[in-house]
Assembly symmetry: D2
Homo-oligomer: 237 residues x 4
């Protein structure tokens, strides 16, 4: 079923660093949007430097799933925009923060924790294990896949205990990380996925694209029941 | 997407008590199967008195979701059949125990707890609240619905903390109960739904049928990732 | 083991409404502090109208468990104070919001949801059931207890799925509510307990005082392991 | 607070293999019992070859926490003994299966899953990370510790989503594993801890002993509330 997907990117590295621009000539958002579009969804992109950071009320109202990439400019997102994203998640919009999107204002507000980690640059190998091979976000994957060169993220990862821990990563240097974790907040589904860094071609990798596409499908809103809040008369007369 | 659904019923009350037979002339399984078939699924029924309790390896291998009603004959299910059901849930078959199906051998084995409750006959009113109106099993429901006359089930309900508590019931006599709870065991999704009693026309009620149909859709298997168990060579050479 | 406990109260109803002042002559915070002190803890109180809302860095640094009552003035708490409370919870401070404390800035920030409910004034009966009688917060209670007259809170309660659902309430008017729910955020334990309203003598009731005392003991910090965040060298040389 | 602790061991390797007997001259149970006794608990041991596998009703009735080591003889435990252990966990006894104790009858019955894993012999390095440094089972540990030589266990680990994932292990050969996971079943607390193998001196290692001692304290029973099951009169007259 075709969905309205918005891919958001801070789009800073691509504009400021020539080697990143060469790696992602259409931006990281472009690479991700292309991958999602293969499933027939209606995909648009939005970036930090647009008015309202590209996430106006109209855009969000028309978004089923928001995929979010950010790294160095998390603090530059407007507070009002972050609130709007959080509100839309509560209403049912899916939210898929990638990589340092775990430090984004919307994700931290939805988690209620610091989301702190340890990290290391240097391009070491990551092996991503499907810890929950029964989860639909793993559809079509093998039991693990390797990312040849990446930034390391290590535990402890200061997040609430996940609803489901879908992926756990192994790193060459000795660390582990819960690389794919699921939550619900209000009516909205959230899947935080670790892989991805501006300096490596990770978003062109088949398995990573498969995960992102599966996450879009998993996080898409479903109708649910009515909910009445506020002052009410007795249900039982 | 059409699914292979098997509705299992102990089918004892209907054969031994004329007033129950009158209420459910095709058995409780017949009423439930008719409700599920409305969604275009391929529905069959199975009962306790059939060979292998109607749940042969072939039947289970060809079942996407097993809906289960039982009450007075839970102990008569063959141990081997119960094991077979549990194994199939681990492989991915959905399992939807209704009412005293919470006392069935497969459900208790999947939970690892006693599943004890308190109860009371007498036909009092139950009001079923959607505690998690964002859950797909509540699609199409109002915020609550009333069952005019039923058996009461009361907390504490000795189950593992659910993955999601979808419904909580209020009873006229002063009790509450987690009436709809979700779990996963292996690749299989489980939704235990309290409403239903042989002496009341509960399975003809619209909201109850909606929940059962939603549960079938929610519990249906999804492919997932490969999983390799047993002795292995190092992943990282 | 004696703990440093701070009981915070907005203390508005008691100062503005004579009948509330008569019911709680030492403030709601006074009644709660007295109940907690019975366990030998070192209890202090703090209120909204004090500098820094009574919650300076020094006070919080010296607080093991913060018990919080609020109702009509949740928005008047300073943002900076709310952040300080949240930070201390992440570091390990226990947090026990009572009644409309579920609408407080710290609780909503820790949950990441709206915490919306339905409600009704009018003094109806509430019956609080121990849904998890194995939880230490229920120590010393019977299977349920009755609050003769209270404000109703009803589901859906827009919170993340709790780590443990300890209490579920039944209301005379037909509603149910998850009245006692546990979470962890960072190193801090959180227990949100519904009962309590300024117009009823609920905080003088034995069972309610037992729950609050148990919650203080349960939520008190424990040391844990070291955690290193930020840039690191490989663990495995 | 001193507790009644029973350390159970199948005690097969130690009797059949001289090099294991040399490494653990008092049996693995002896090494573990000594470590626990340092905290002042009243510790006894029990083994497979004793009548009723050493776990009579009297022994279990007098056990607060059962620590369990098994590996090659899991299937030889009597079904009736396994049921008795499960029943006692439901009543509140703590249960701490170590290493292949995850394949024991009681643990598998309590989980309701296969508990399957992948594994590899060969004595490679394991690094155990505290993924939840706020959990009391990590008290006194650094952020990680290394086991120089061990058997590998790898994901996927077919268990229900844990209540808390306390430890995640990294293995030299490229795998990861949730090495310390918490559950509750009925009133009983369960902590499954991976490290430990008959051929390595793992149970003499400080950090491992610290974890086992912490687990005993964490898993010890607490009183809780009354629970009434079965047929009842209305709570609300």
């Amino acid at each position: 079923m075709p969905r309205q997907v918005t891919v958001w990117n801070e789009n800073v590295h691509e504009r400021e660093e020539p080697e990143i621009a060469e790696l992602y000539p259409d931006g990281i958002h472009g690479a991700i949007a292309d991958a999602i579009a293969e499933d027939g969804h209606d995909v648009r992109t939005a970036t930090l430097d647009e008015p309202a950071n590209g996430l106006t009320e109209d855009v969000l109202a028309d978004t089923d799933v928001l995929v979010w990439w950010s790294h160095c400019a998390n603090d530059e997102v407007q507070d009002e925009v972050a609130s709007r994203v959080v509100d839309r998640v509560h209403e049912g919009m899916g939210f898929v923060p990638l990589h340092s999107g775990k430090n984004s204002k919307p994700f931290k507000r939805l988690m209620g924790t610091t989301c702190n980690i340890k990290y290391r640059h240097g391009g070491e190998t990551e092996r991503v294990w499907a810890a929950d091979p029964g989860h639909p976000i793993t559809d079509g994957l093998g039991e693990s896949f390797e990312i040849p060169a990446t930034e390391m993220y290590g535990e402890p990862y200061d997040i609430p205990e996940p609803d489901r821990t879908v992926f756990i990563s192994w790193f060459e240097g000795g660390e582990v990380f819960r690389s794919g974790v699921c939550y619900r907040r209000g009516r909205g589904r959230i899947f935080a996925f670790r892989p991805g860094h501006e300096a490596y071609p990770i978003y062109y990798q088949d398995e990573v694209q498969t995960v992102v596409r599966n996450a879009v499908e998993w996080a898409a809103p479903t109708p649910g029941a009515d909910a009445v809040y506020g002052e009410v008369a007795p249900a039982d007369e």
